[in-house]
Structure formats: structure tokens, C-alpha cells
């Protein structure tokens, strides 16, 4: 099913709602003189006190892109989509589209394209606490029809038919949808707001102009200048929101979660200072890209140099590339600095936990200070890779097949550090064996491999001695913990196979081109394959949670695979340079 398949202009069914709307639209009360359109932007009509603004400049282009997209047919052909299209679940959507098309007098896509050819604009004004929707169209006739549709739908919803309450303001008629929401046509603008004073100020600005409009705001113009030709743009006045005391914890600068600090600490630090933020959404045939950008100054980094590097120069090492790669993350984080600065970055409770962990880890590392000596022996670049795991036919096949993962670090002084980490690895395996034996878990068998350029310390679970058709092979057999050293590189891997693959890769070289602070890539094919390896588990889960039979559960899980097959990868990139912090998320679609 697609929305087009639901269109009454493409099929014969028309609901009663269409009839009701048509009758309503024929009402003479709708007649209104049209004035000439103007070329002003929505930002010129909105007050400078707007704190959030969203603009969709060309909805018609997006509709056309989706309609002509090569994947459209694949989606239409999905059994699940066809089933939903003919089900009662989407009847309200079908009725809604039918009502819209009946009211607009043309198919919904055409109607939306013409109706919004001057853009859709949504704004929130802080002083009035009002939201305003502004739609600009070249067609006054379509705007009038749309007004009729909105009023009719509102009256249908309230079961209160008749002529909507009206009021005039400076020659424009405002209609009340209910006690709060009013709408008006201001020549070629459709205006809807929940606060009359905001609506009036927009009409005043339309008639009289205003040099203090949103368009005249330096913060707004500076922020939106970089938004370019995006399919959707949004602006947030962070400073005003922050000063108003909204979400104070977000700007407090301290977190309870160590992982959250490592991942997002720099972004949160930026939010505590930035005056504004801009989001843009770019849609093209290859995919969707969402970019969030804020200004950035190095003096805002105090305490978080571990995240940004000196002078915001942090540059992540290149992404690791392995076959059947599911996920790769590369980032600049100086973990030692973060550990030592923890009292400034985290709450008291988190620091208590960290202090305890520090004591235990220091003991584990033979009284060498964990933050300074151990983490300090590693350079800031961290590379993580996750790989779909394949299992040798001769080895135990775990019932739940997890992907393998590995982290690669660069050691500052390998000749000193290697020995330390090797010993800790051996201790750790011994510890796991003792605890595992107490819990009846299988045991790890340690081994050692030496190649020309690398040393591997491996630990492999001893295979079960007897085959039991009822016993599922435990999840443990996904793991063969391995520590590998290759020159300055240290690899900590969940599987020996992945470690072997990684030591075969070349060491990261110093790049003259500045890399992003953080980059992550998730591959949809490998994700689908990993899930497919565990399809039986997913089906069982579906049967238990939804009460489905096996066929129905299989069909529902297949929908998941069908959806994943539409995607190629997802990339997230954090860039900090040119006075800007930019977080980009890009979803790439398969080409067909």
C-alpha cells in the first residue's frame, strides 16, 4: 500500500466526508476578496522573540522524490505493505485522504504541492507561548479550499456543524477552530495560531513591516545562513530557552553516566554555551541526512579537552574495515584525562562509584594507577569494530549467535605496556575460569600465537564433552577473548578470528587532512545477516509476545528483513571546526 493507493482520485471509493466537505466548501460564507501575493519570507512576518522555527521550503519536491524513487515499487510489493493497505487499520487514513482530496478538488499530492509551493513554516514564540503555522501558496483558491477542509474537519471532530465563529482584524477574517486555535487567510498566506496576540502581530507585521522581525535577528540570520538549500530547516534559540530555565540538568555540565559523558560530554558542554542551534534535513534519492549544528568556541571546552583535543583539533583515527562489518566507530577520546577530570565532569554519586572502580582496577593492575598509568599509556584515538560472526562447522554453534567485537588502541610505549596488559589478561582469564567453574560454566583454554609482526594471547572455551540434543550450546561459545599486540597497536577482541583479521590491517597513519572528532558507520546488510542468524530466536520471541503461530511470526520477522533490505548504511559524524560543532546523521538507501 502507498498513500497514493488510498487516494480516491485513483480509486472509486469516496467517503461521506468528501460529500460533507464539498457541501461545506460550496457555502457562500467562504467567499473572500483576494489581494495580491507578496514576496516576503515567513521570518519577516514572525517576531524576533520566536525561539523555535521550522521551515519546509519545497514539500512538492519531497513528494515528487518519494513518488519517483526506485525503491517505491519494492515497498509497494512487500506483502506486509499490501496487507496493511487492504486492512481496516488504515481506514481512518483513507477517509482522511479522501476528505482532503474532496475538499481540495485534486489528488492529495498535487494539492499539497500547490498549497505549499511557498513553504510551510512553524514557529514558537516565547513571550506569548504561542505557536503559529504559516503556509504560503501561489494559489489563493487552494488556500481557500484548505481553510474549508480544516474548518470542516474540526467541526466533524467536534460534531458541531454550522458557520465557524469569525472575527475581523484589519481587514482579514479570522475563524475559530475552537476556543484557542484560530486561522485566517492573509492574502497568499494561511495562518493558524493558538494565541490571538501572536496572530495579530503577524498580520501587523504583514501590513506594516517591522525591523525587529525574526528575519532581522542576527542570531537567526547567522544560524540559518549555513542551512543552505535543505529540504527542512529548523532553528532553536538555545540561549533564551536556557535562560528561561528549561531542562536545567542538560546544562548543568555534570552527568551520572560515564558512558554518556564519553559519548556526548562535548555536545552537552557546547549546549551550555551556544546561543543557537540549527537542524537541517536533506532528502535526496540516495537517502536522508540530518545535520545539527551549533556555534563552538574553544573557551567553552574547559574541562573537556579529553573530548575536543587541544584547540578543538581532535581527529579520530580512520575507521577499521573488516569483512561482514556490522558497525565501526572511531573517536578521539583521551580516557586518561577524562578519568582524572571525573570530579569536574560527573556527579558526586558517579564519582563515588568511579573511586571504588579506580581502587579495584588499581589492585587488578598491580598497584599501578589505573587512570594515570594504565589509561595514560594509551593514545586518545579509539577504534571499535563489530563484525558478524561465522562459526566453524566443527566448533560448537551457540544457539544465540552474537557478533564479534574488538577495540584497537595505540600504545605510547609498547615495550613497557605490553607486558603489563598481557599479565592482566592472563589474570582475568584465570578469574573468569574460577568464577565460571563455581557456576558450572565452561572453561577457557589459554593459548599463545606469535606471527612475524604480532603476538596474540587467546582464550577459547573448551567444547562440551558430550552431545546432548536437548542442551542448547550456551552463549559463552560466541566468545574467544583475545589480546593482540602489533607494533604500537593493542587489540582487545571478543574473538580470536577478528583479532587475527585486525592484526593483518595496516596501522593507522597520521593524516594531514583533519578527520572528524567521531565517526560511526552501521551497515544494514550485516545487521540483517546477524539478525537472520538468530531468526529462530526472533520468531520464538514474537510467538511468545504476540501469541502468533509460527507462520504469522515468521511473516512478521520477514517484514523486519524487508525493511532492513531498503537501507545501505547509517553514518553518524561529529565534526568540530571553523567555530562550529556539527553532528551529522546520514541514512543511505539501497539504490534499488
Amino acid at each position: 500500500m502507498t498513500v497514493q493507493a488510498l487516494s480516491p482520485f485513483r480509486c472509486s471509493n469516496r467517503s461521506l466526508a468528501v460529500f460533507a466537505l464539498s457541501v461545506f466548501l460550496a457555502s457562500p460564507t467562504l467567499a473572500e476578496d483576494a489581494k495580491q501575493g507578496d514576496r516576503r519570507t515567513a521570518a519577516e512576518l514572525l517576531p524576533a522573540s520566536v525561539v523555535a522555527y521550522v521551515e519546509v521550503p519545497r514539500l512538492g519536491d519531497v513528494i515528487e522524490l518519494v513518488a519517483d524513487h526506485p525503491l517505491r515499487q519494492s515497498i509497494q510489493d512487500m506483502p506486509a505493505v499490501r496487507a496493511i493497505g487492504s486492512s481496516d487499520q488504515v481506514r481512518p487514513l483513507r477517509d482522511g485522504i479522501a476528505a482532503f482530496e474532496g475538499g481540495m478538488g485534486r489528488p492529495w499530492d498535487e494539492a499539497l504541492t500547490v498549497l505549499t509551493d511557498g513553504g510551510i513554516h512553524l514557529a514558537f514564540d516565547a513571550p506569548t507561548q504561542g505557536a503559529a503555522l504559516l503556509i504560503q501558496s501561489s494559489s489563493r483558491e487552494q488556500l481557500e479550499r484548505f481553510r474549508g477542509v480544516v474548518l470542516a474537519l474540526s467541526q466533524l471532530g467536534q460534531g458541531n456543524f454550522g458557520i465557524a465563529r469569525q472575527a475581523d482584524y484589519r481587514g482579514f477574517t479570522a475563524y475559530a477552530l475552537n476556543d484557542n486555535i484560530k486561522l485566517a487567510l492573509v492574502d497568499h498566506w494561511f495562518l493558524m495560531t493558538n494565541k490571538p496576540e501572536l496572530g495579530k502581530s503577524i498580520i501587523d507585521r504583514y501590513l506594516d513591516g517591522d525591523k525587529h522581525s525574526l528575519a532581522a535577528s542576527d542570531s537567526f540570520t547567522a544560524a540559518m545562513a549555513g542551512a543552505g538549500d535543505a529540504s527542512m530547516k529548523a532553528y532553536v534559540d538555545v540561549e533564551t530557552i536556557r535562560d528561561a530555565g528549561v531542562a536545567p540538568k542538560l546544562y548543568a555540565g555534570k552527568t551520572e553516566n560515564v558512558a554518556a559523558e564519553a559519548l556526548f560530554g562535548g555536545i552537552v558542554a557546547n549546549l551550555a554555551h551556544t546561543p543557537s542551534a540549527v537542524a537541517t534535513l536533506d532528502i535526496d534519492p540516495s537517502g536522508v541526512r540530518l545535520t545539527l549544528a551549533t556555534p563552538h568556541q574553544s573557551e567553552w571546552e574547559t574541562g573537556r579537552e579529553y573530548f575536543f583535543g587541544e584547540d578543538s583539533a581532535a581527529s579520530a583515527p580512520p575507521l577499521l574495515q573488516v569483512p561482514h562489518q556490522l558497525l565501526a566507530i572511531s573517536t578521539h577520546r583521551d580516557l586518561s584525562q577524562m578519568w582524572l577530570r571525573a570530579p569536574d565532569l560527573m556527579t558526586d554519586k558517579a564519582n563515588e562509584d568511579l573511586a571504588q572502580a579506580d581502587t579495584n582496577l588499581t589492585t587488578f593492575f598491580s598497584n599501578r594507577d589505573f587512570g594515570e598509568d594504565i589509561l595514560g599509556s594509551l593514545r586518545p584515538g579509539i577504534q571499535l569494530v563489530v563484525q558478524r560472526q561465522s562459526f566453524d562447522a566443527a566448533s560448537p554453534q551457540p544457539a544465540i549467535k552474537l557478533p564479534a567485537f574488538a577495540m584497537q588502541f595505540t600504545m605510547r610505549t609498547p615495550e613497557e605496556t605490553t607486558r603489563e596488559f598481557r599479565r592482566v589478561f592472563q589474570n582475568l582469564v584465570g578469574f573468569i575460569n574460577v568464577v565460571g567453574a563455581m557456576q558450572g560454566q565452561p572453561q577457557l583454554d589459554q593459548d599463545f600465537e606469535q606471527t612475524d609482526s604480532a603476538t596474540l594471547l587467546t582464550a577459547t572455551y573448551v567444547p562440551p564433552r558430550e552431545e546432548d540434543p536437548l542442551a542448547a550450546v550456551p552463549i559463552n561459545y560466541n566468545f574467544s577473548p583475545t589480546l593482540a599486540f602489533a607494533g604500537e597497536r593493542m587489540i582487545v577482541s571478543s574473538s580470536t578470528q577478528l583479532a587475527r583479521t585486525l592484526i593483518g590491517l595496516s596501522a593507522p597513519s597520521e593524516s594531514k587532512v583533519k578527520q572528524p572528532n567521531t565517526v560511526a558507520v552501521l551497515n544494514a546488510d550485516a545487521l540483517a545477516d546477524t539478525l537472520r542468524d538468530n531468526k529462530q530466536q526472533l520468531v520464538a520471541q514474537n510467538m511468545l509476545e504476540k501469541g502468533h503461530g509460527p507462520d504469522q511470526a515468521n511473516a512478521e520477522i520477514d517484514v523486519l528483513f524487508d525493511i532492513l533490505a531498503l537501507f545501505k548504511d547509517v553514518t553518524v559524524e561529529l565534526d568540530v571546526d571553523d567555530g562550529q560543532l556539527k553532528l551529522t546523521t546520514e541514512v543511505q538507501l539501497q539504490s534499488k
Binding site: L470, I475, A540, L544, E545
Partner: protein, 455 residues
Amino acid sequence: MAVDTKIDPGWAWQPFTPSDTQPWDRSLAAHLYRRAGFGADLQLLDEAVAKSPHDVVDELIAINLETSDFRAVADSLAQTLLAGGDPMKLSAAWVYRLLFTPAQLLEKTTLFWHGHFATGADKVKDAAMMWRQNQLLRRHALGDFQALTQAIAKDPAMLIYLDSTSNRKSHPNENFARELMELFCLGEGHYSETDVVELARCFTGWEIRRDRFRKNRYQHDAGEKSILGQRGAFDGEQAVAIVVGRDDMPRFICRKLARYFLADELELTDDLIEIPATTMRENNLQIAPVLKQMLSSNLFYSSHARARKIKSPVELVVGMLRGLNGTTNSQLVARGLRDIGQGLFYPPNVKGWDGGRAWINSSTVLGRANLFEAILSNEDTKFEGQSLTQSLADHGIHDVDHAIDHFERCLMAVPINPATRRQLTSQFDSLGKDHEKTYRRLLHAVCSLPEFQLA
């Protein structure tokens, strides 16, 4: 609920013959399915009414094995969940089986043996072991009690639960020996402390190693023992055979079966119980003939048995869903059952569930209502694969009055009290805007009625 009237054993176990005063109708068929299984939808009831009660019982007994298709699905579901190693998830797999099994009597009897040979996953902790025991109980559920007891005596989960993983000749472990006589076969007063000590010697050398049963011949006491009046150098198997072979055993088992299938508080005199006990003896300790006799009897269809049981949590929830062809989130049901006192794989102690009035107290009454609330507000709860509104509409039901009639027909062992019905009708006077929500609230109200707690 106790019935004082003395029951004539001769009449009680005679096969029931429908009459003008007590015709074989939906109501009696529903009674049979509530007891021999967990409930039936209208279609199954109508199919049953078209046959004789004896034929229906014969069919229920005959399905003493699940169909291979269903067994394959249910087993593979459980097998898949074993990978996670969580017995609670396994409990959800059993709920799935209870909801969809075509072999209702087999599953109901498996649940009976789970309470009889009670073993708790909270102590055993190993999901695979619990699953193996569950399969064992299902395999023998309607079969030979001797074989079942011999198998359970060597079941790793049972021996771990009774702290009997190691039994040396220098220190015989009396736990299993005592429970074999007291809880599993004979009952209190039918053995002496000496019997316990002597019986324990027979099981020396029986132990669990690497999750498997084995006999350690070096630790077996091969000397002569005296058990329940018999002397000899008995080993474990011979000891079980001696206990199971006691004349008291069929009476003990038949009493428990009668309380489970017929009535919670029936006065089961020796005279009354001797007849099914004899049936058990005459059929080489097979369970199926005993159940056939009980479920076909005058007693079963009489006022002594009808609506004379308080539904267990499993009967309560699975019964509602099976009665209305409902499906839901099995994990939610599994957790809910545990909350209201009948966690599958989690019996409270080695005595199993007491049943009867013990199911109901101020906490579980509220818990029962809350569990129905959770199930009926869950978006995965469907009836005949659709909304309750649509399911009722398929039966030609479009208003509250008819919905109450339908729920009464499908779910209740006794009619809804007229005053309660008036109250329900006025409470849910109109369906309002959201029919689905109103019907579900109505069903919740019906399932929370005292009448609905009776089976």
C-alpha cells in the same frame, strides 16, 4: 462449599447418562472442558454436544500425545528459549503450550504432576533441567504411574530440588526417601521413620554429576534392608517398586486426582475412593483409565462436582483466553501467574500448590483482577486474531447485554447473579465512543466476579 450428603459409591462412579432433567448440552460440555482441560470456545462446545459425553471423554483420553506438528512447534519454541537459560522465559513457553495445545487433558494432567512432583526453578536454576523434567511429566502424564515414579526418582531437577545430588552409604540422604512415601505415593501415616531410614539406604550411590543422573556403585549400600514389611538387598529401583506397589498408593493418588479434577472439598471416604483405586490397580497403575472413569461418572456431572472448584490462576487466565479464542503476550501471562501464586516451574515448596480455597486471599483476589487488567489492556491481546469488538460482531453481538450473555456462555460455571447482571448492564450502559475499550472493561468486570472464580 463442603457437601454433607453422603455419596453412594455405587452411583458415583457409574457412567453418566444424559436425561431430560440433565441433558448433554453446552453447559455440561463446558464443565467437562473446564475440568479435563482449560476451557473451550463455542465451536468446540457445539462439536462436543453433537457427540455423547463418553465419546468426548474417549477422545480427550485418546489424545494422549500432542500432534507431531504442534509438538514440533512447542518443543522448538522451548528449545529456542533454553538458549537464554532463563527458566522464567521457559515458563512463557509452557503458557504458549497451555493456550494452544490440542491435547488439553494431557496438558492439564502434566500440570497436575508438576504440582505433585513439585520442583522449583528458583532452586534448580537450570532451565534445561526444568525443561527435561517437564517433558518427562508430559511423556508419562496419562501413562504408567510406576514408570513415572521410577523416572522422577532419577530426574536431576528433582534430586537437586530435594538436596539429594549426593547420597553416600556412610550418610544416606533421607529427603527423597521421605518425600517418595509422604508426598508422592502414600501420604502421612502410611510409613514409619524406620522405613525412611531403610529406604534412604536403597538410594545410596544415586547422584547427579555434570547435570546427569548416575549410580556410583562404590557408594551404594548393598546390605539387606527392611522396607514397609519387605526384606532384601534392595536397590533404588526395587525400593521405588515396593513403595509404588503398596495397596495404599492408588487410594492416595486417586484422592489427589479427584480433588484436582472433580471438587476441592469433596468428602472422599475410603469406600468412595476405593472404586477408582481398584480401576488403577486393575489397569497396572495406568492413569488414563482412572481419569476416564472419573470424567465420565455421575459424580463428575452432579452438583457435588459442578462449580465446586476454585479456579487455579492457570485455569483462570488460560480458561478466559481459550473460551474466547484469545491470544496474548505469553511472557506477561507467565509473570502474572507467578505474581498470583502459580508460577509455572515455580511451585511454592515440595508439597506443590495447596489449591482450593488457598488460591484466594485478599492479595490474590486483587492480583487476579490486576492480571486481567494487564492482559486486556495489552495491545497484543486479540480475540480470534482481531479486536474484541470485531470478534463479538462476528458472533452477532453489538451491545452490552448480548456481550454479557456471550461471556456467561463461554466462561462461567454458574450463571451471573441477576443483581450483578443489572449492575454490569447499568455500569456499561452504552458502548460510548470507544467500543473496544468498553467491551474490554466489561470483560474485565466479568472476569473479576466471584462467580468467575469457580470452575
